[in-house]
């Protein structure tokens, strides 16, 4: 088998729900005071179950899989750095040196000392910082906006050479400031992902800053415009992925891509108690838990009835939405199968409707085709031209 990585699976590890912030939109809001955390031994068992599955499927498919561990909370940096050094050492022992893997930590970056800076610098491959720039919704228990503290600590990371990207949660509180948010990240040279609001932890939580699906669509359209128009290539997600999809569609001869959850699941969420959920299903709803990775081998979890139910639900969404969509094949169907921001729009039969990507792709295509001179630009043509075989 070649050493090239062929595919990737991410595990979002909810290591603890405990958090020093009380962000008003947090979908974990009611659990943020809970100090329970995954234990070292539970994580070792998790790794063993993952490794047994990886070894099996890589041998079967003659493929090489990269494993991603996305450490999430709560605030994962409230745990002692020693906890992470131990579990990273356990990864080395259980996966060995040859299994490619990446560790990503998603943090509010309000708690940072020398030990933690060293942990982020040497222990993790990627650091993600949550910062909304506008809105004032990321507050502590006393209701104080801690963004200034986050910005100061981002500066400390830069001074120490720790690379990071950011996630900005899109709400009604900052949706009117997208241009300024983009300016901020662009001038700072910081990559960012715009993440529309998840469903809240309780009824009415989002009342003052909720958005419609159309609001989300318009925000993504604006982000496309900003990316196209602004000088300098900034890595803005999901905009880059969305434009890439349309470029593949326009190119015409790119290999089709179809999301098949039974063939490959790109991401699995592991809750603090080991219960697992896929992204397209209702989070923490016991009916949609696909199994417990502390107690159940991943191979068995994927072979189980719960996972089959989850896969069938995703396939129904794709079948209902994508077969009539001109972008299917360039778009894999993943957005309607799994993305949370398509949850709100329902068909008459109760199924979800792909509103965001379907309309956004049409918008991007229109935007690109509106510039005929661009499409005939010899540099772009050269980029699309088939390369001769080496």
């Amino acid at each position: 088998m070649s050493q090239a990585v062929h595919r990737r699976m991410d595990f979002v590890v909810k290591v603890s729900k405990f958090c020093n912030l009380r962000c008003r939109y947090c979908y974990e809001y009611e659990s943020l005071g809970n100090r329970e955390a995954m234990s070292r031994e539970q994580l070792r068992q998790l790794y063993r179950h993952i490794e047994a599955w990886r070894a099996q499927v890589d041998a079967r498919d003659q493929q090489r899989t990269e494993l991603g561990f996305i450490w999430h909370g709560g605030e994962p940096l409230l745990l002692e750095p020693g906890f992470y050094w131990d579990t990273l050492q356990d990864q080395k022992e259980i996966f060995g040196e040859d299994v490619p893997r990446k560790n990503v930590l998603q943090t509010n970056l309000t708690v940072l000392d020398e030990e933690r800076i060293e942990l982020l610098r040497r222990g993790f491959d990627v650091v993600g910082v949550s910062v909304d720039v506008f809105g004032g919704l990321r507050v502590n228990v006393a209701g104080k906006d801690l963004q200034p503290q986050t910005l100061k600590n981002m500066e400390r990371l830069r001074e120490r050479g720790v690379p990071f990207s950011t996630i900005t949660v899109l709400t009604r509180a900052n949706i009117g400031r997208l241009r300024h948010i983009y300016d901020f990240f662009s001038r700072a040279g910081i990559d960012f992902r715009l993440l529309p609001l998840f469903d809240g932890a309780f009824e009415g939580q989002h009342r003052s800053f909720d958005m419609s699906t159309q609001d989300i669509l318009k925000a993504f359209q604006e982000l496309v415009d900003l990316w196209l128009e602004k000088d300098g290539f900034l890595k803005v997600y999901p905009t880059l992925e969305q434009i890439q999809t349309v470029l593949r569609f326009i190119k015409g001869n790119a290999a089709p891509v179809y999301y098949n959850k039974r063939e490959w699941l790109p991401v699995l969420l592991v809750n603090t108690n080991g219960d697992c959920f896929t992204y397209g299903d209702p989070y923490e709803d016991p009916e949609w838990c696909v199994g417990n990775l502390f107690t159940t081998p991943l191979v068995d979890l994927f072979a189980g009835e719960r996972f089959a139910k989850s896969a069938l639900a995703a396939e129904r969404r794709i079948a209902q939405n994508c077969l009539s969509c001109p972008y299917f094949g360039a778009c894999s169907g993943y957005p309607i199968a799994e993305e949370h921001y398509n949850f709100k729009e329902k068909r008459p039969d109760g199924g979800r409707t792909c509103v965001v990507e379907r309309n956004l792709f049409a918008y991007i295509e229109k935007r690109i085709r509106a510039q005929q001179e661009l499409l005939t630009d010899e540099r772009v043509e050269a980029a699309f031209r088939e390369q001769p075989a080496a």
């Binding site: 100061k152 300024h180 699906t213 196209l228 593949r248 510039q371 540099r379 980029a383």
Partner: protein, 105 residues
């Protein structure tokens, strides 16, 4: 197209017939019109060129042609070296500057 893709599409087609409502064209939401901004086209060209080039590079990755289709999900092509913004700006100062611009606009 790979045979596995063909089988999967046939399966999806059969599935669409088995659900209560057949697949129909989705109603389009009102869209924000794409405006032409001539002064910005140089940047449009440069950014799109970089992304298009990244797709081309991505498809040259050894073994990529044999990847199961689903593994392409969420995968962004390796981006080529691109021009980055200046990174030594104070973020606190930058935030204040953006707020000033916002108040002035």
């Amino acid at each position: 197209m790979k045979s596995s893709s063909e089988q999967y599409l046939k399966y999806l087609a059969a599935l669409s017939l088995s659900v209560a409502a057949p697949a129909v064209a989705q109603p389009a939401l009102p869209q924000v019109e794409a405006e032409r901004r001539p002064a910005m086209e140089r940047c449009v060209s440069e950014n799109l060129q970089s992304l298009a080039a990244s797709i081309e590079m991505d498809e040259q990755v050894p073994g990529a042609a044999g990847w199961p289709e689903s593994t392409h999900v969420g995968r962004l092509a390796q981006l080529p070296n691109v021009k980055r913004a200046e990174t030594n700006t104070s973020l606190t100062w930058l935030m204040e500057d953006v707020l000033l611009e916002l108040r002035a606009s």
